[in-house]
């Protein structure tokens, strides 16, 4: 089993999930409460990675962070190295790729919170931040948890995007799924089978937990 790839994938998934919680919670609360008429537009953009072929996303991310784009050039100017074929580049792509898997459950959960409780908290003098952490989040936690679990699992299984922008570097961008692809090409079916089986079991476990939560009446995915 390719432990370096497993370690890398776990690190990538953890950081992606973390960033998605930090970025996704504000976005989800805005989506849940906004009455802006163009909100559907933002919702469509957030959901895009679900149906977008990973090669399309990977291709555009590669162009966007490459040395010929303003973003790529700005990043090189600040950090001294490029984003493509680096762990940071993968992280950027993974956050985009798994965005709907975090934001949609978050939004679904937050919008089920009774608006009156939030308003009561405001009336009692709590600010929006305090209300969010003390009222909204405690009520929405199962959905937030589902979002966390799903985006973690989705990032762990990511293949096309990584293939497009990663470059298959051991310890830097060779994730578990790329490692399986590599092991198959090396005709090392035993190793490929071991890694694939581990991933299969993990995915099953994640879904079992998710649906288990759902069975206990916590409607989170894909209800929206």
């Amino acid at each position: 089993m390719d432990w370096r790839a497993i370690e890398l994938s776990l690190r990538l998934s953890t950081l992606t999930t973390l960033l998605l919680v930090i970025l996704g919670l504000p976005l989800a609360s805005w989506l849940a409460f906004s009455r802006w008429r163009w909100r559907f537009f933002v919702e469509a953009v957030v959901a895009l990675p679900i149906i977008l072929p990973p090669t399309v996303l990977g291709f555009y991310v590669l162009i966007a962070i490459g040395p010929h784009s303003p973003i790529g050039q700005a990043y090189v100017a600040i950090t001294g190295r490029g984003l493509p074929f680096s762990f940071q580049g993968l992280l950027v792509a993974s956050v985009l790729y798994s965005l709907p898997f975090a934001v949609q459950p978050f939004t679904a959960a937050i919008s089920t919170v009774d608006k009156r409780l939030i308003e009561a908290s405001w009336c009692l003098g709590r600010g929006w931040l305090a209300t969010f952490f003390r009222v909204t989040l405690p009520l929405a936690w199962p959905g937030v948890l589902t979002g966390v679990v799903l985006s973690f699992a989705h990032t762990l299984g990511e293949f096309g995007v990584v293939l497009m922008i990663g470059g298959n570097l051991s310890g830097v961008t060779r994730t578990i799924s790329i490692s399986i692809y590599d092991q198959v090409q090396a005709l090392d079916y035993g190793a490929a089978n071991q890694t694939a089986l581990a991933l299969l079991l993990f995915s099953f476990l994640v879904l079992a937990i998710t649906y288990g939560l759902q069975r206990r009446g916590i409607a989170v995915w894909p209800a929206h």
Binding site: R4, L8, R11, T14, L15, L18, L19, I22, L62, G66, P67, R81, G82, P84, F85, S86, F87, Q88, T112, V113, D114, L117, A120, S121, L124, R126, L129, A130, F133, R134, V135, P138, L139, G167, N168, L169, S170, G171, V172, R174, D182, V184, Q185, A186, L187, D188, G217
Partner: protein, 287 residues
């Protein structure tokens, strides 16, 4: 609906809590958030360290997959401090990746034209080097009814051959050689509809080794590798049926580890390297 309503009743306890505790919770929540973010960036930094400075990152044409694995093992035994990571793929893909700044130290291409172009655009640290000449074979799995050794290229016309795996000629030199040979031997039009394309020559070999394709045009270096040798039979395509496959390499200018890169290049070009490459079916350039 009922259930949600029940849930919503709960936090009323929370809302009535005194001010001080409230503030404490908010501060501790933000602190833990900040801690989590810091931890994230710590892991970021750890990501940079994953490749120690003595490590060498090599991009190698997929036909080298088994030969270079052997050479890397021998090299690491000779220099225990060196750590070599090899990524195998199609030479054309690597060439495209170098344009986007892929961080490799050393590039072994199946077509010397790619390193030459890199040198021309100023991306090379040293001169282009020629390390081997590649050959192609027609390969069938051992349980195939087709007598490839007797029929030669005509084996591909047999009715039991439905799919023929070749590497993608767009970016894999072995794919270009295969298509050139099929054209030179005047059977391309008859087999064109049966061709399936592997992303690189190792994936092409995997297609036919696994039986997904009935025959394949592969690199001799893969056909004689221990992993493939007993799994099938092959016929070597005459060298004059396709353009000479000069395999060349280059050390990239962006390499932070020029000394080790040069040492490894010299090791591959040296006596031991030549012997290993020869055992894997490569022809060798004049010394």
């Amino acid at each position: 609906m009922n259930r949600i309503y029940l849930n919503c009743q709960k936090p009323q306890f929370g809302i009535n809590v005194v001010n001080i505790r409230n503030r404490f919770v908010i501060i501790s929540t933000s602190l833990s958030f900040a801690g989590v973010i810091l931890a994230g960036f710590g892991a970021f930094a750890a990501g940079e360290d994953a490749t120690p400075p003595a490590a060498l990152t090599i991009a190698a044409a997929a036909d080298l997959r088994f030969a270079l694995d052997d050479l890397v093992k021998d090299f690491e035994e000779l220099y225990p401090a060196a750590k070599i990571n090899v990524t195998y793929g199609s030479s054309g893909n690597f060439f495209a990746q170098f344009q986007n700044g892929a961080p490799f130290d050393l590039f072994f291409s199946a077509d010397i034209e790619y390193p030459r172009k890199l040198a021309e655009s100023g991306l090379g640290a040293d001169n282009v080097f020629l390390y081997a000449i590649g050959c192609i074979v027609v390969w069938v799995p051992k349980d195939s009814p087709v007598a490839v050794d007797k029929l030669g290229i005509k084996a591909l016309l047999e009715p039991s051959i439905h799919k023929i795996a070749v590497a993608n000629p767009e970016h894999a030199p072995y794919g270009r050689a295969a298509v050139a040979a099929l054209k030179a031997l005047n059977i391309y039009d008859q087999v064109a509809s049966r061709l399936v394309y592997g992303e690189n020559i190792a994936q092409t070999a995997q297609f036919v080794q696994s039986g997904a394709a009935d025959a394949g045009i592969l690199a001799l270096s893969l056909a004689v590798a221990p992993q493939m040798r007993d799994a099938g039979r092959f016929w070597q395509v005459p060298l004059d049926a396709y353009p000479r496959m000069e395999q060349g390499g280059i050390i990239l200018k962006s390499s932070k580890n020029l000394e080790t890169a040069r040492a490894f290049r010299d090791f591959v070009l040296g006596d031991h390297g030549r012997e290993v490459l020869k055992n894997y079916g490569f022809y060798l350039p004049e010394k």
